[in-house]
């Protein structure tokens, strides 16, 4: 089972290493981790996608809370949230198939952000399924490189975590 955790931490030297180290030494699997500063510059927010059953999730949450620099941990899995991930895909493209690829990008409301004689870079945001779908469609052309930010998520509505 996958869980999405929103973790507010002190924006301080070494915090990422504390969190990453905790996952490593307790044997928890991270699927993705995205981190950046929040509206309050003293606080960073991590969005961590972690795999495990409810017992694992409970331990992960408690252990994270034990880190002195962790301010709050929220499991977004149970909430109504919007989730996005940004992905850049460099795909083989030449005159013959360029327009076909552009059509695919269009359907997914992705953007072409670089075009060269033998390649294109496509930018796409979306949830996991959408990204999986475009990846499948682009595979036959040859994906040269792909990079993803990891998932970020916010609760819907006026309430914050």
């Amino acid at each position: 089972m996958k869980h999405t955790l929103a973790v507010l931490v002190e924006n301080r030297y070494g915090v990422l290493s504390r969190v990453a180290g905790l996952f490593a030494r307790r044997g928890y699997n991270i699927d993705s981790l995205a981190v950046g500063i929040t509206e309050d510059p003293t606080i960073s927010r991590m969005t961590i996608v972690v795999r495990g059953d409810d017992l694992v999730l409970e331990q992960v949450t408690k252990q994270l809370n034990k880190l002195i620099d962790v301010i709050r941990v929220t499991d977004l899995g149970t909430e109504d949230t919007v989730e996005r991930e940004l992905v850049l895909i460099k795909v083989n493209a030449d005159v013959k198939n360029r327009s076909e690829i552009m059509q695919i990008a269009d359907i997914f409301r992705a953007k072409i952000i670089d075009v060269a004689s033998k390649s294109m870079v496509i930018e796409i945001t979306g949830d996991e399924n959408k990204i999986k779908a475009i990846e499948q469609l682009l595979k036959p052309f040859g994906i040269k490189e792909m990079v993803r930010t990891g998932k970020i998520a916010l609760r819907r509505g006026p309430k914050s975590i």
Partner: protein, 563 residues
């Protein structure tokens, strides 16, 4: 002076902070990057004990903390000084002991350059500290020192390390010691949830076979008296973990002794047959539970612990109560009454009579259990510190502890070499108490250099070496599970321990006959000097009873031949 600021160097500020925290003694070892701190120590009122290996500085700070409940402090230089602390910090971490470790570091601008004697000690100690700091602005020294002592000693206690680049100690700062700590991300829960407490009280009232399983957390909460009041009111039997020894008086009719791998048979039987386990400040360690699937299968479990992460970590808990053991027991006492335990206590009394701890023989050879009994007989209120091995288990089984903080032992990490330096810390904290390091011939050789420390500083601890010529605990496993193939566990004739003691200027005594045991103990106590007693004990004596690895705790074997 609070409120006003004063100009001073970072080094002096560190010493001033120690003063403000009420620190009277620190344990350390100097080096290049801590020269300014040592210079500031030179004319301060704080006593500095010069150990002979930094690992001992951490263990001594730990022993000091266990004996008093105060935060222990150690100091080491950068690089090898800092890395030598690691085992000591890990030992304190595993047993939740409050210490603050100060380490020197290369100047800020040189960090990351593989400078001479640079080690990333905050990185290295991340998994074995409750928290750690690298000082990056000398003006932060007072705040960080204040936070470090606060974090180390509150909630679930533990070690905190502060890494101090040399230039931070020479810079001038405006010293102002904060009176309070503001940490939005750290707020331990002390008060137990009252609904949970009432629920627990209801279960307790109904239980006909309750067992109280108390651990090191009761000692750290200073809740031993309350625990006794609670047990007596409910009329429930009490067993303690290794680190909980001393929290309940051994002679008390409700006491079952230690449980687990080398616990008493009756403690393990009681747990397995119990209908309600009341765990207080204990963490269901595998040495206690044995085969986890078969652990107390008939019992509901109430778990009182200050650390929410301990709840249901190893064993499913029915009624968790997160809070400080003292506060929770205070509240719980208001709601509980005597439980219907008469038949249960009778059954337990029967088990106690049928399956007591015992040993046989001892006419020709010295039985280790006998030495422990004689030490108790000679000095009932001694502080017993141990190394790790068979001797440690005999100390836990046979000394009749009557107060908390009188049994000091590395439980979680099981660190050989812990006992002697920890005994130094305990003796400095409690100079009026007789302090024994119950030691093995193997363990002692991991910290024997501290003989120099105790002689130079005249710290009269008594080292009782249980000399069996073996790494006995490992040999025991080889005897039982590896067909007596004693692979690299024989250490006979390592050294003449008496001469070793004398070489350092300590008193050395050798005991080869049972009849000499008591006189040697008396002589050591009377001497008032650092003393080493080399007891030649029966070489292949085993710790009994024993739960084999992977077995349920009621599958506990007698390894001592029958009388």
């Amino acid at each position: 002076m609070t409120g006003r600021t004063e100009k001073m160097t970072g080094a002096r500020a560190i010493i001033e902070c120690l003063h403000r925290e009420g620190v009277d003694t620190i344990f350390g070892y100097p080096g290049g990057q801590v020269l300014p701190i040592y210079d500031a120590l030179y004319d301060s009122k704080i006593r500095h004990v010069l150990v002979r290996h930094e690992q001992s500085a951490a263990h001594a700070a730990d022993g000091y903390a266990r004996a008093t409940g105060k935060v222990g402090v150690c100091l080491a230089t950068s690089g090898p000084g800092a890395t030598n602390l690691v085992t000591g910090i890990a030992t304190a971490y595993m047993d939740s002991i409050p210490i603050v470790a100060l380490t020197g570091q290369v100047p800020l601008s040189m960090i990351g350059n593989d400078a001479f004697q640079e080690a990333n000690i905050t990185g290295i100690t991340m998994p074995i500290t409750k928290h750690n700091y690298l000082i990056q602005d000398a003006n932060d020294i007072p705040r960080i020192m204040k936070e470090a002592f606060h974090i180390a000693s509150t909630g679930r206690p533990g070690p905190v390390l502060i890494d101090i680049p040399k230039d931070m100690t020479t810079e001038m700062i405006d010293f102002h010691y904060p009176e309070t700590v503001k940490l939005r991300s750290y707020n331990p829960t002390y008060e137990g949830n009252i609904q949970q407490i009432k629920k627990a009280a209801e279960e307790i009232k109904r239980s006909s076979k309750p067992v109280i399983y108390a651990g090191g957390g009761v000692i750290s909460a200073n809740a031993s008296g309350l625990l006794q009041a609670f047990a007596e009111k409910v009329q429930a039997p009490v067993t303690t973990t290794l680190t909980g020894m001393g929290t309940f008086p051994v002679g008390h009719p409700l006491f079952l002794g230690m449980l687990g791998m080398h616990g008493t048979k009756y403690a393990n039987y009681a747990i397995q047959e119990s209908d309600l386990i009341i765990a207080v400040g204990a963490r269901f360690d595998d040495r206690v539970t044995g085969k986890i699937k078969s652990f107390a299968t008939n019992a509901k479990i109430i778990h009182i612990d200050v650390d929410p992460a301990e709840i249901s970590k190893n064993v499913h808990v029915d009624i968790p109560i997160v809070g400080n053991a003292k506060r929770v027991l205070e509240d719980l006492l208001k709601y509980v009454d005597k439980a219907p335990t008469d038949d249960w206590l009778e059954k337990i009394a029967h088990w106690k009579r049928s399956y007591p701890l015992y040993y046989v023989g001892g006419k020709e050879n010295i039985k280790p259990q006998y030495i422990i009994e004689q030490i108790h007989d000679a000095c009932k209120d001694a502080i017993i510190v141990t190394e790790v091995g068979q001797h440690q288990m005999w100390a836990a089984q046979y000394f009749r502890f009557s107060e908390p903080r009188t049994f000091i032992s590395s439980g979680g990490l099981g660190t050989m070499g812990f006992g002697f330096p920890a005994a130094i810390g305990a003796k400095i904290a409690k100079p009026d108490r007789v302090v024994f390091d119950i030691s093995g011939d193997g363990s002692f050789q991991m910290s024997s250099q501290e003989l120099a420390t105790v002689v130079q500083e005249n710290i009269p601890v008594i080292i009782a070496i249980f000399n069996n010529g073996y790494l006995g605990m490992v040999r025991q496993w080889q005897e039982l599970f590896f067909d007596k193939r004693y692979s690299y566990t024989c250490i006979r004739d390592s050294v003449d321990f008496v001469k070793l003691a004398e070489a350092y200027g300590a008193l050395g005594l050798r005991v080869k006959q049972p009849s000499e045991v008591r006189p040697a103990i008396e002589q050591a106590i009377a001497s008032g000097r650092p003393t080493l007693i080399d007891f030649w004990i029966e070489c292949e004596e085993n710790v009994s009873p024993m739960v084999p690895a992977g077995a349920a705790i009621n599958e506990i074997l007698d390894l001592e031949r029958k009388a």
